[in-house]
């Protein structure tokens, strides 16, 4: 009879995850027991404190390379790199969530998410100046999920991390203070489709277990190297796992939630989600492919190519005809996922480094861009229609210039981080012998450059009209987040060497 023995757990290595997780639990208690008046302050204290202390802890254990918790968690170079990125992006995201100066009604979130849109209750809650603080609890849980997702070393833990990350996000998407119906619709779509994708993932995990007899990624890899036959089982299983992850990174044809969710979600959440979920999901995707299924490289490579090409082309093409800034940035996110997949497909050390670098730089650009979107307003709230941005460069040259930096970076123009990351991904792909894929990617970035530059043209080369939005003056929170994002975007474009070395030193995924 087998006796159950408790697994060895390296608490130090997983401490960053635990810190955020415990903070999230404390945050639940705060909601339950602390009077409403002081909740916001305490929640912010917990959130910022947890993120910063987790960050410091992560920095002290940056050289740890260990598989722990019974093989469920792999704390290796890429994992630490991505956990650090997620924590920094979470810090900036928390700053955007803290912002209360932009909207005359308060922060970006509905005072009571339970109140029906347009109901008497809602009006009363608004007029009484309620602020809801559950957003912080949800935010901390989402970060816990992300930190676990990039370190998950077996399929079951990966699924749990995916859900810990996703469920709070579904809720947060539906909490916009303005245009609540759009926001709730987006939340529902995200939830239903997300559940659909999760079903694929868990079913795929079951099939792979059926084939390999284990859910541990190194175990699957071993099984692939010794077993022959029953190929269809593992191939279908892998396909289904990939579908679940492709959904999260918003790759075509699993992307259709992105424009609706990016548009409907409160803008601080869109920025945080757009940046951090991408890091987490790509981290999980790479670990799955490189650690678990490296034996099937010749099979999954084709899928990644197809999805990468579709994402780059479809994302770039549809973005051209978008007239809403947030939807345009959503399609841009789809296309960017395609570019990152080009790096994933290489399966080389240089490719991993390039993808890590891409995720870091792209995260800051995304947070910064949505920070700007949250500042450009008219009487009805955020003015996201492109026509309202006409002539913004003349009304608010500083903000328009900063936004232009982000757009140029997304378009991959030199002297911004966007050029360096595109270049390193493409260089890695050419070294790996995928020149044809790079040609497609370059063609797609030409198309993509059009719609990024079009926004700059609209801002700087059109005369302001009476519909032109104005820029609300933000508090220090958004200002710092925006300044940090813009500075990092330019610095990474001008002197990328330190970060290139950092990601190169992160090494490969351990098994």
């Amino acid at each position: 009879m087998n006796t159950f023995s408790a697994p060895e757990i390296d608490y130090s290595a997983i401490a960053p995850i635990l810190i955020i997780f415990v903070a999230a639990l404390v945050s639940v208690m705060v909601e339950a027991f602390i009077p409403r008046a002081s909740r916001r302050f305490i929640q912010m204290l917990i959130t910022y404190g947890a993120i910063i202390s987790a960050g410091f802890w992560l920095f002290t254990i940056r050289d740890t390379r260990v598989i722990t918790a019974g093989g469920s968690l792999a704390i290796d170079g890429p994992a630490i790199m991505m956990q650090g990125t997620i924590l920094v992006l979470a810090l900036l995201g928390a700053m955007l969530i803290s912002e209360r100066s932009l909207d005359s009604l308060g922060d970006s979130f509905a005072p009571r998410a339970s109140a029906l849109p347009g109901s008497v209750d809602e009006r009363e809650f608004t007029s009484r100046g309620f602020t809801q603080t559950e957003i912080w609890t949800l935010f901390l849980f989402a970060v816990t999920g992300m930190l676990s997702f990039v370190a998950a070393n077996d399929l079951l833990f990966m699924f749990i991390a995916l859900e810990i990350m996703s469920l709070p996000l579904y809720l947060m998407v539906g909490m916009a203070r303005r245009r609540r119906l759009l926001s709730q619709e987006a939340a529902l779509k995200y939830f239903v489709l997300g559940a659909f994708a999760s079903a694929f993932f868990i079913f795929g995990a079951a099939l792979v277990y059926g084939y390999a007899g284990t859910i541990s990624l190194p175990g699957i890899s071993d099984a692939l190297s010794v077993k022959t036959g029953e190929g269809a089982l593992v191939l279908i299983g892998l396909g289904m796992l990939l579908i679940g992850l492709f959904f999260k990174i918003g790759a075509v044809p699993f992307h259709q939630w992105t424009p609706d969710v990016y548009q409907g979600a409160p803008t601080p959440i869109t920025g945080f989600m757009g940046a951090a979920v991408k890091v987490a999901a790509f981290g999980a995707l790479m670990r799955l492919l490189y650690v678990g299924f490296s034996g099937l490289r010749w099979d999954w490579e084709i899928i990644v190519w197809i999805v990468a090409i579709l994402s780059m082309l479809v994302g770039s093409l549809i973005a051209i005809t978008q007239s809403d800034i947030k939807r345009m940035l959503a399609y841009s996110a789809v296309a960017q996922s395609g570019f990152i997949l080009v790096g994933v497909a290489t399966a080389t050390a240089a490719g991993i480094a390039a993808v890590l670098f891409y995720l870091i730089a792209y995260g800051f650009v995304t947070i910064g861009a949505f920070a700007v979107v949250s500042m450009v307003r008219d009487a009805s709230g955020e003015a996201t229609h492109l026509s309202k941005w006409a002539g913004l460069g003349k009304k608010s040259p500083m903000v328009a210039t900063v936004f232009s930096i982000f757009l140029l970076s997304l378009a991959g123009i030199p002297l911004t981080s966007g050029f360096v990351i595109k270049f390193s991904v493409f260089a890695a792909a050419i070294t790996a012998g995928q020149t044809w894929l790079v040609i497609v990617a370059v063609a797609a970035s030409v198309v993509a450059a059009f719609f990024y530059v079009r926004v700059i043209v609209v801002m700087f080369f059109s005369a302001p009209t009476e519909n032109t939005a104005s820029v609300a003056i933000p508090s220090a929170f958004t200002t710092i987040a925006l300044a940090a994002s813009a500075t990092i975007t330019v610095v990474l474009g001008v002197i990328p060497q330190p970060v290139i070395e950092m990601v190169a030193n992160a090494g490969i995924f351990i098994r």
Partner: protein, 629 residues
């Protein structure tokens, strides 16, 4: 020839250029803050360079003749593979005289400009550009390789452009600046091609390497080099067929016309050919072409100068003609190089004096340039009149004024070469006598033909002192250089010198030339001094009418270059609109259309989204399984 390293005072060679360059940088970058003291700083930097230049001359005279080529390497500038170009300067006897001409005449004109530009609101910018010009011109003559010379060459072109269109609010000035710049580009192409050809042929663009191995190259290559360098020289020195810009360049402020478009920059072409003498000595055809171009220009300039009523344009025509003389001399080969430079120096001084004199007249006449509204100014502008007369006697070549010595030597050298070239040179000297006499007769003699509100007066001291200095130069410089400075043996180590016998003794040629000049002057006096000058120009004969239109230089340019270029441009625009834009717009339309179609897949319904995911799932799994099978 040995090249000596720069020691002692010569180690400050870089400072010659750095001083005015720093002046330009300070004046142009500090903006309005330096408005008050900027002009004085501009004068100071050039004067300091001039003092430095004089000290170097004194030191150089103490050196033995074969040790007078001094080189200084500032740093390695270009290095591509085996090819390297140093930022290096070379000071020899030829550069030395140019340094002195540029800095001393430059300093005088800077001082004069203090008065002339005193009321201009953009005075600081003007001095900044002038300093920039001096720095670029010094770089041009101090470079020890063709590439660095090219930098200076372009630098003076830029400064010239900026200064011609200095009053850019006048459309004519803006257009003149553009014209000068564009015509100069044609010449610059010649220089850049010549540099490339040198690199291909000799593997280096250093003066010493190129001249050292020139005789190894084929005559065809040397002829091509000579013709390309001539093209460059023709552009910069306003020689036929690139002469049209110089007359329009008179739109710039008068000190600019004096410094850049009379004394220094326009002689850069002469410098280039004299510097490249080794190439021309071995390329007979190229040298002959130089002589032909020079003779055409000598006459064109003189004829244009005879018909213009605008005092500055008449002087510009004269400049063209005189530079033609210099080009003629360099085209003659070793018998002429020395005298070309000699005439270049005397001309630089007396023509600067004439231009500044003209500027002084204009200053008193409310900036009117039409000589038909001058007359009888000798009484009210005594100093200007006397100094102008010194320049006048110098340019027509009356002994002992400086122009006599230099021009006489060129004419003599022409007779040494060929009787007909000599006769042509003498005939042009006669026309010079005519148009210069016409100019002083219309300006200083005759009756007053002033406009009603014009009250001529002598210019302030800050303007007349440079005039006096230049007038002294116009009078004595020729004798000083010839007898005391011994210009022939001074320049001989660099450009070579030989002399051939002429059939008649030289005194015959001197007297013959003088007689022709005096006849020209008498005709000029009879036509304009004795007779009443009508205020409206008479119709004149066909030659006068043609000369007033710059001998149809613009019409020729228009027919040969501008119109074809315009048609070619229109053709390209048509091609661009129809073919290129058609392709671009077409692909944009295809992309946009695709985008519009694909956008429809985004229906907003969850069921459609889920269906698309199922489709994707089928695709993914099918691809995985099918590839395996």
């Amino acid at each position: 020839m040995t090249v000596m390293p720069a020691e002692g005072i010569f180690s400050l060679m870089w400072l010659l250029i750095a001083l005015p360059l720093a002046g330009a940088a300070i004046l142009l970058f500090t903006g309005r803050r330096s408005n008050s003291w900027g002009p004085y700083l501009g004068v100071l930097t050039v004067t300091a360079s001039a003092v430095l230049g004089v000290l170097m001359l004194i030191n150089m005279m103490d050196l033995p003749a074969e040790e007078r080529t001094i080189s200084q390497v500032a740093y390695q500038w270009v290095f591509v593979g085996d090819f390297s170009v140093d930022l290096a300067f070379q000071l020899d006897q030829l550069s030395m005289v140019f340094v002195l001409l540029i800095t001393i005449v430059g300093a005088l004109i800077h001082i004069y400009s203090l008065g002339y530009m005193s009321h201009d609101p953009d005075r600081r910018k003007f001095f900044g550009y002038l300093n920039l010009f001096v720095a670029a011109m010094l770089l041009l003559v101090l470079a020890n390789n063709y590439l660095l010379l090219y930098v200076g060459w372009e630098g003076v072109g830029l400064a010239s452009y900026l200064l011609i269109s200095f009053w850019q609010y006048k459309p004519s000035a803006a257009a003149a600046g553009k014209k000068a710049f564009i015509i100069n580009r044609v010449g610059d192409v010649g220089l850049s091609l010549a540099i490339m050809l040198m690199f291909v042929t000799f593997g280096s663009v250093n003066f010493s390497d190129v001249f050292g191995s020139a005789t190894n190259a084929s005559e065809g290559t040397l002829t091509a080099l000579g013709l390309l360098l001539l093209l460059a020289a023709a552009g910069k020195s306003a020689q036929f067929p690139l002469q049209a810009w110089l007359l329009d360049a008179m739109e710039g402020p008068t000190p600019v016309s004096a410094l850049i478009h009379a004394a220094t920059m326009v002689t850069a072409g002469v410098y280039l050919i004299a510097r490249s003498n080794v190439i021309y000595n071995n390329a007979e055809i190229a040298a002959t072409v130089v002589v032909i171009v020079a003779l055409i220009t000598v006459f064109m300039g003189a004829i244009i100068g005879s018909a213009k009523d605008d005092i500055k344009k008449a002087l510009a025509g004269s400049t063209m003609s005189q530079i033609g003389y210099m080009m003629l001399a360099v085209g003659l080969g070793p018998i002429g190089y020395v005298f070309a430079i000699f005439h270049l120096l005397t001309h630089g001084v007396f023509k600067a004096g004439l231009f500044l004199g003209a500027g002084s007249v204009m200053h008193g006449m409310n900036d009117d340039v039409n000589m038909r509204r001058y007359g009888a100014l000798r009484g009210v502008m005594v100093i200007t009149f006397i100094t102008f007369m010194a320049g006048y006697l110098a340019i027509i070549g009356i002994p002992p004024f400086s122009g006599f010595w230099s021009k006489d030597e060129i004419i003599h050298a022409a007779f040494e070469q060929n009787l007909f070239i000599g006769l042509a040179a003498v005939a042009a000297a006669g026309i010079t006598g005519f148009y210069m006499t016409r100019m002083i007769a219309m300006t200083f003699f005759g009756k007053k033909r002033w406009e009603d509100d014009v009250h001529p007066h002598e210019s302030p001291k800050v303007m007349t002192i440079p005039l006096i200095v230049l007038a002294l130069g116009s009078t004595f410089l020729g004798m000083a250089l010839l007898f005391w400075g011994d210009i022939e043996s001074w320049l001989e180590p660099v450009v070579g010198f030989e002399s051939e016998p002429t059939p008649l003794p030289s005194s015959v040629y001197i007297v013959f030339t003088l007689v022709v000049v005096i006849i020209g002057a008498i005709i000029g006096w009879i036509s304009y001094g004795r007779r009443e000058v009508p205020e409206v120009a008479p119709a004149g004969n066909w030659l006068t009418r043609a000369a007033r239109k710059d001998l149809y230089g613009d019409a020729v340019n228009h027919a040969l270059v501008v119109a074809p270029t315009n048609y070619a441009a229109r053709l390209l625009v048509w091609f661009d609109n129809k073919a290129v834009d058609g392709f671009v717009n077409g692909s944009a339309a295809v992309v946009g259309g695709l985008s519009g179609r694909m956008r429809r897949t985004q229906s907003g319904f969850i069921r459609t989204y889920a269906l698309s995911m199922v489709g994707g799932a089928v695709l993914v799994i099918a691809a995985l399984v099918l590839v395996r099978i």
